[in-house]
Symmetry: C2
Subunit: 107 residues, 2 copies
DNA sequence: TTGACAGGCAACTAAAAGGTTGCATATTGG
DNA sequence: CCAATATGCAACCTTTTAGTTGCCTGTCAA
């Protein structure tokens, strides 16, 4: 699963809100996820398709309804494989910024 | 600082590569960051502007050069304020997925 | 069986994103 | 001073993205 698809999926505030909605209540139908009424159903469908492609949401049909389930694994993967690298360099980078700002103050 | 700007800045693979480059060696000039040669200088300038707007990079002019410094704080903030929420719900969501998949197998 | 309900598909539009070219500006070293 | 170097600015182009409208398909319940 490409990390790029996950980053791109998370880039949109609407999609992050959809994930938040599923986190609050998992297994919602498309209609329920549209209930906020800020968009057409088709727009939400497209956002959900992007989230599914990034493996952040898994969907299942039940009769005429489609249930959506949050999959937090890709988010965890990004935290573990990408963000962690910046944790390590955090103190060093902050020290760099600090000395730079102090040198600025001297000018 | 808006979290949305950070997410959007991280959505592009080129910008993530720029951050990685600064993580490897902090304080690089624009010219050095262009050295990979996969893009024009102007394209890199635009990406850096987006990273600066998201507060992921701080820049300082030194003579005719512009030095760029990584600021990992917004990345840390996203990990702490957004991703952590999905850590908490991780086991519950995985359990949901598991039972759903098992029910699928029964059909 | 026949509406009403839930969702899928496709074409279209508008705006934003990514990138380029060309030219201007400022700094440095000889 | 002057030429080379390092960067900035603006117009332009192309592709992608976000969203819409209109219509079609499948399912449930009276």
């Amino acid at each position: 699963m490409s990390m790029d698809a996950v980053f791109k999926a998370l880039a949109d505030a609407t999609r992050r809100r959809l994930l938040d909605s599923l986190r609050a209540r998992n297994g919602q139908t498309l209609g329920e996820l549209c209930a906020c009424g800020e968009m057409t159903r088709q727009a939400v469908t497209k956002h959900l398709a992007i989230l599914e492609a990034a493996n952040l949401v898994a969907a299942q049909k039940r009769g005429r309804e489609k249930l959506h389930y949050l999959n937090p694994v890709p988010i965890h993967d990004i935290a573990a494989r990408w963000i962690k690298r910046y944790e390590r360099s955090r103190l060093a980078a902050l020290a760099d910024l600090k000395t730079r700002l102090e040198r600025d103050a001297d000018d």
